[in-house]
């Protein structure tokens, strides 16, 4: 082609005017080998979704701080009862005699009898770190036990909510159609009930009906109130979880990989197990983590109303409730459990947010 030749000639003219060829040597124009080319083209380091998320989580100072706070709290509530020589229900006594002067002590204060005892024997008694309550019980150990109860209520309630919500939500979401319609209307009905009223009614009714059922079993040790609290939580709060999981499944279901699995001939149960659950897992874990503080809050609230765990067992909420009577003289008894609740709830919320930022693929 003439045009091409002319173009080629022109190109050479232009180029030779611009380039000083002496600065190149022929070896530069040798063909590069495939090896050399490949070195330039590296595939990034292999990461899994989990590792990637953990790395993002580690970079989040708030979430990491929350993990440390929570770990410290858990460590303390596990270890402290082994070190502190008092029990949460024990009324302080010296030499087998009830120490009447030990009521309402300030933090790190000893009662008259204790002081006398220590002077007499030279032995040092374990200090009352947070003082004592009006029934002469060590307040520190009561706070520790209160935290134990509150945390376990929170965690167990969240897990029960998760199990029920997961089952219900995934059936409704995956099968859709009429099944979904009916199941979700039931959810709507439960949603429309005023939850506080139901909780209060249920815990009153359950107290009475559960009592004969659990006597003699392991559950008896937990106390009727505690059990009924679990039941109440799981009966009421699963609806939110079920809705969320249904929504998640509806979104995931529309992904082409689910269609691809159907096209392959994969059975429904396998599709749920291999394709849908792994992909909603992160959202589910995050929501469960955020469910714990809300359960702790409700438990505290109920205990504050006097519907919580039964005496002498205590929770952070009932500690705060008990502290109301002496609020003016002993404000620390209200402040301490309140602070612990705040700390736990705040840490769990921050951790949940951190987990969401790190693992929720929608935000990435």
């Amino acid at each position: 082609m003439q045009g091409t030749d002319r173009e080629q000639y022109k190109k050479r003219q232009f180029l030779s005017a611009q380039i000083d060829l002496s600065r190149f040597n022929p070896s530069s124009f040798e063909k590069a080998t495939d090896e050399e080319k490949k070195q330039q083209d590296v595939m990034g380091e292999s990461t899994t979704f989990f590792r990637d998320g953990m790395r993002r989580l580690r970079k989040n100072p708030l979430a990491m701080g929350s993990i440390i706070v929570l770990a410290a709290i858990i460590l303390i509530i596990i270890i402290a009862p082994h070190i502190v020589p008092y029990s949460y229900s024990e009324i302080i006594s010296i030499d087998g005699k009830r120490d009447k002067s030990a009521a309402n002590l300030a933090p790190f204060e000893y009662s008259k009898m204790e002081q006398q005892y220590m002077d007499r024997t030279g032995e040092k008694l374990f200090p009352h770190i947070f003082g004592t309550d009006s029934l002469s019980r060590d307040y520190f150990i009561r706070v520790i036990y209160g935290t134990r109860v509150s945390l376990s209520v929170g965690v167990v309630a969240a897990i029960m909510v998760l199990i029920i919500g997961l089952l219900y939500g995934s059936i409704a979401g995956y099968f859709g159609g009429k099944v979904d319609l009916v199941m979700m209307r039931i959810v709507d009905v439960i949603y429309s009930l005023p939850d506080m009223l139901i909780i209060i009614l249920l815990s009153v009714v359950l107290d009475q009906t559960l009592e004969p059922l659990i006597t003699g079993t392991v559950f008896a040790r937990l106390g009727v109130n505690m059990i009924s609290m679990f039941v109440v939580f799981s009966l009421l709060y699963w609806v939110g979880m079920a809705r969320l999981i249904r929504g998640q499944i509806l979104t995931i279901k529309n992904n082409e990989y689910v269609l691809a699995a159907k096209c392959i001939g994969t059975k429904d149960r396998q599709i749920l197990k291999k394709h849908i659950f792994p992909n909603i897992l992160s959202v589910v874990i995050i929501t469960t983590a955020l469910q714990v503080p809300s359960a702790i809050f409700t438990e505290s609230y109920l205990s504050f109303l006097g519907l919580g765990v039964s005496a002498p067992l205590t929770s952070l909420g009932s500690l705060a409730n008990d502290a109301r009577s002496g609020l003016q003289s002993y404000p620390h008894r209200l402040v301490i459990p309140a602070l612990v609740i705040c700390l736990i709830v705040l840490a769990l919320n921050l951790l949940g947010d951190g987990l969401r930022d790190a693992f929720d693929s929608k935000l990435n």
Binding site: M43, E256, Y257, C263, I264, G265
Partner: protein
């Protein structure tokens, strides 16, 4: 059984009068969205049929319905001599439904066999290389899934060998078997999707916009791979796409769809060289040609207006609202596909 009886046919797949309606709720009413309305075509073994049309014309639905990923409203689909769906409607030679004395359509027995055995022979490659692979699975597990489902191996080692073989077939580095899909680029993901479809050794693959989401330079890699696999394995494709140049390149025959109906089917070169249907004409003229000289001289037939809503379809021929040649007959009745020589089928009253 009637279902098992093999009828000899030159075609691998025959789709007759396929209809796929979806109920759409509008306030308190339920309206039928006719995504696919009376579509018929056939594909020979080892052949590629291109299916083109604009978004919303129902081409993706055709692909999914014939694999029975949706429950088709009506139609008869035969694959390799076996019926995989027959809703029982009867049609006369003009394609009109046979009616009985009271004006109701005559219905034969409906046949709906289990799709599981068919899934080994008919597969699909999806459009979106991102959402078509499960992000929580490794490449090995993705490609291995069809092997697991259809129990196509006797030992763990055999499974792995098969997977590596498939990866090699589609040009993936076997070292990457344990990696997750999100670590790959779009083109590589599409290769993974193709390997998954090939795992069961199918005779027929629906390629639903399989190269549309890829960059031009990568698109050519994948198009070539489809062609090479066809030469090697003899698979037939239904190649659904909106890019006419790519479809022309890969297809033996092309079907053009408009609003749920096939308006023209012909040999690929024939369709591009001498299109007949006015819609095909304007579609072809609108394709931006990557050649400045041709582009300067080509005359676009710019269509007036927009595609009507499929919920509110015009009567008769759906294209008549934008067609220059539309007559009263077009509004009255949908023209049937008629042969204009050499299997060039056109559905138009006036051309």
């Amino acid at each position: 059984m009637a279902n098992e009886a093999k009828t000899t046919s030159e075609y691998l797949l025959e789709v007759e009068h396929l209809k796929q309606y979806f109920p759409v709720r509008q306030g308190f009413h339920t309206v039928m969205l006719k995504a696919v309305d009376d579509v018929s075509f056939a594909i020979r073994p080892g052949e590629t049929l291109g299916l083109v049309g604009e978004s919303g014309c129902g081409k993706t639905t055709v692909g999914r319905s014939l694999l029975r990923l949706y429950q088709p409203t009506a139609g008869r689909i035969t694959f390799d001599g076996k019926v995989l769906l027959d809703t029982g409607e009867q049609y006369d030679e003009n394609g009109r439904p046979v009616l009985d004395a009271s004006g109701k359509p005559v219905k034969g027995p409906a046949i709906e066999p289990d799709m599981f055995p068919f899934r080994r022979q008919m597969q699909m490659v999806f459009q979106d290389p991102y959402s078509s692979l499960n992000p929580r699975m490794t490449v090995e597990d993705i490609i291995g899934e069809p092997l697991d489902v259809h129990k196509l191996y006797s030992s763990k080692a055999e499974r792995r060998d098969k997977i590596l073989e498939l990866m090699e077939l589609v040009g993936l580095n076997a070292e990457h078997a344990m990696r997750y899909a999100h670590e790959f680029s779009g083109g590589q993901r599409q290769r993974i999707g193709i390997a998954r479809a090939l795992a069961v050794n199918p005779k027929f693959i629906v390629c639903d916009e399989a190269v549309s989401a890829l960059d031009v330079s990568i698109q050519a890699q994948v198009v070539n791979m489809f062609e090479e696999l066809q030469d090697k394995l003899g698979v037939a494709y239904l190649f659904i796409a909106h890019d006419l140049l790519v479809v022309h390149h890969i297809s033996d025959r092309i079907a053009v769809m408009y609003l749920g109906k096939v308006v023209e089917i012909a040999d690929a070169d024939e369709l591009n060289g001498s299109p007949i249907h006015p819609y095909t004409l304007s579609l072809l003229s609108a394709v931006p040609i990557p050649d400045p000289e041709t582009a300067r001289h080509s005359k676009r037939i710019v269509l007036e207006g927009d595609v009507p809503s499929p919920l509110n379809m015009p009567s008769g021929c759906p294209f008549r609202t934008r067609c220059r040649y539309a007559t009263e007959q077009c509004a009255a009745e949908m023209p049937p596909l008629s042969d204009r020589g050499d299997g060039h089928m056109v559905a138009c009253w006036n051309k």
